[in-house]
């Protein structure tokens, strides 16, 4: 029988400090997530220096909790993995320095992980991935369509030309008086409102797989400002529904365009915006409408946001390939595929 592989993984690219122990890339023995949302809510968004300071406060506690919950010792661990980009440089460095230190202290191999790859492989905990598969990665920092042709082989088909989709949610949330992160509340309001404002669906006519959300964001803000000037009372629920309606049209249009070009049997939706109920419902309906024989994979809500479990999932593939880093590993804040 093949021996189990246990990977201790670290994630600290933005405002969550997370350490996980993952077995064979498939089973979560522990996945400790310390979130700083409450702190950054004071400022209406993530402040990098504040984030870095919190990561140092939390890092060893997270390691301790992860090991306790998994009931493992260092002798059980086969490798240490860490997110090295993309993300905030000061935040990334805390996870990197801690991971390098643990790897050094216990003479364990070190694996450097692309945060985006981690998000996509959060799907590995809910299904057996069939290659090639399509991934729609939607978060506060990223909006990408990625074709995964083999384990750990990524090909970006489309990317956002301006704001990430989650970022657009936060920006229009601010106009609606919703604190960061606004996605969940906008999603809830959208469920009761109606799409009546006809906001623009940017680039849906264009024959490429790229996204744009800044025009939509501006149209939204202009509409609200105009109403303020003429003392017109707009329904916030309708505004949310109209914004989300446009977002879902754009995401759906580009995703199914990509699927037409690259027929696959699985569509993975990952990243913080994958928690959006409207998006979940819409993609499911579109697949049914098209009679497509395709598995739609959404990670559980806990694995949509940043977490170290997903880092351990992709790290397993790199471990099997012998893709190791050394102790000079540095962050790469603008890393892409």
């Amino acid at each position: 029988m093949k021996k189990d592989t246990l990977i201790m993984s670290f994630e600290s690219s933005c405002d969550e400090t997370s350490v996980a122990i993952i077995k064979n890339g498939k089973e979560i023995l522990s996945n400790i997530i310390a979130t700083q949302i409450k702190s950054h809510q004071r400022f209406g968004g993530v402040v990098p220096e504040v984030a870095s300071r919190h990561h140092v406060e939390e890092i060893t506690r997270c390691i301790e909790l992860a090991m306790d919950e998994a009931a493992v010792t260092y002798d059980d661990i086969d490798a240490v993995a860490v997110t090295y980009g993309p993300g905030l440089v000061g935040s990334l460095l805390i996870g990197i320095m801690a991971a390098k230190t643990v790897a050094f202290a216990h003479n364990l191999p070190l694996i450097k992980v692309n945060h985006l790859a981690g998000h996509i492989y959060s799907a590995n905990f809910v299904t057996d991935l069939q290659y090639p598969f399509m991934a729609l990665l939607v978060s506060g920092g990223h909006t990408e369509l990625v074709l995964v042709t083999a384990p750990g082989e990524f090909h970006t088909l489309g990317d956002t030309r301006d704001d990430a989709v989650g970022e657009a949610y936060d920006k229009i949330g601010r106009v609606l008086g919703i604190n960061y992160p606004a996605g969940k509340q906008v999603d809830q309001m959208a469920a009761v409102g109606n799409d009546v404002f006809n906001f623009p669906r940017a680039m849906v006519q264009e024959d490429n797989l790229d996204f744009s959300f800044s025009g939509l964001k501006s149209a939204f803000i202009n509409r609200v400002h105009h109403a303020d000037q003429v003392h017109e009372d707009l329904s916030k629920d309708d505004l949310a529904a109209s914004f989300q309606g446009a977002v879902l049209d754009i995401l759906s249009n580009k995703t199914f365009r990509a699927l037409k070009q690259h027929p696959v049997s699985q569509l993975v939706v990952a990243g913080g915006v994958a928690a959006n109920q409207g998006l979940r419902k819409r993609l499911k309906e579109e697949i049914e409408k098209r009679n497509m024989d395709m598995e739609l994979v959404f990670p559980p809500l806990r694995l949509c946001g940043d977490n170290a479990a997903m880092i351990g999932a992709i790290a397993q593939i790199q471990y099997e390939k012998g893709d190791f880093a050394d102790l000079s590993l540095n962050s790469d804040p603008s890393l892409d595929f």
């Binding site: 400090t17 300071r53 460095l93 102790l327």
Partner: protein, 240 residues
């Protein structure tokens, strides 16, 4: 006692392995290298030079600030993780106190770090029987205030350490006769850090060990300036 000591609080990097006052290994760099890249390999090399394994170390010592926020965090994160993961005692020493270790005997030592706009991180230390005693606590302070505060001391006994040219000019205006060691001549030395750490009390709770920044972040400063209050007890980070 075998001590592994390191400092990356500013541009220079210094790593040392010291056993009972004897330097077994010492790696230094004053170049502007990336501490996040070089620190672990330098620790590895130092231990190899000392023919020791990291498990042989009895105590970990780190300069815990003030300094470059990122720089201090790099060393502190490595130090606390290493101490935690190997269950070793950890000692944090003020980065200013470490600079003061460069100073002369029977003097009042004023280690400084230029914090721009005529501000500095500074403290005052006396050197009594070869032991540095903190007499004015480390703080972020305007140079005007610092120089005023030093009026109580005999100018001939003052020794400023790690002064940039800009700070030197400001000091000279008020204390033309004070001894000044320039930033170029005062590199933090991890062998001295190890010496300072030998008799210091180890930190009680490694998890809670964080850099001494001596300044709030700008965002927090502005937030409090707007009249916001917290009861000091609120937890801004939650496990979910």
């Amino acid at each position: 006692m075998k001590i592994l000591a390191f400092d990356t609080s500013n541009k220079p990097l210094s790593v040392a392995v010291v056993e009972d006052g004897k330097v077994l290994a010492h790696v230094e760099s004053s170049e502007n290298k990336t501490h996040s890249v070089t620190l672990l390999p330098d620790i590895q090399d130092s231990l190899a030079d000392a023919s020791l394994s990291v498990n042989d170390i009895d105590r970990i010592a780190v300069a815990d600030g003030p300094g470059s926020y990122t720089g201090v965090r790099i060393a502190v994160t490595v130090a606390k993780t290493l101490a935690f993961t190997l269950d070793k005692p950890l000692v944090g020493i003020s980065s200013l106190k470490l600079l003061a270790a460069d100073g002369g005997d029977d003097r009042f030592l004023v280690p400084l770090m230029d914090a721009r706009n005529d501000n500095a991180y500074a403290g005052v230390y006396s050197n009594e029987h070869e032991r540095l005693v903190n007499v004015v606590e480390d703080q972020h302070i305007t140079m005007t205030k610092l120089l005023e505060l030093l009026q109580d001391y005999d100018e001939d006994q003052l020794e400023f350490i790690n002064a940039t040219q800009k700070l030197t000019d400001l000091i000279r205006e008020k204390y033309p006769h004070a001894k000044i060691i320039s930033d170029e001549d005062s590199l933090p030395d991890a062998t001295k850090l190890a010496k300072l750490a030998e008799h210091a009390e180890p930190v009680k709770d490694i998890d809670s060990f964080v850099p001494t920044y001596l300044r709030l972040t700008q965002a927090e400063h502005d937030w409090y300036a707007k009249g916001h209050k917290d009861d000091g007890n609120i937890s801004y980070v939650e496990e979910v």
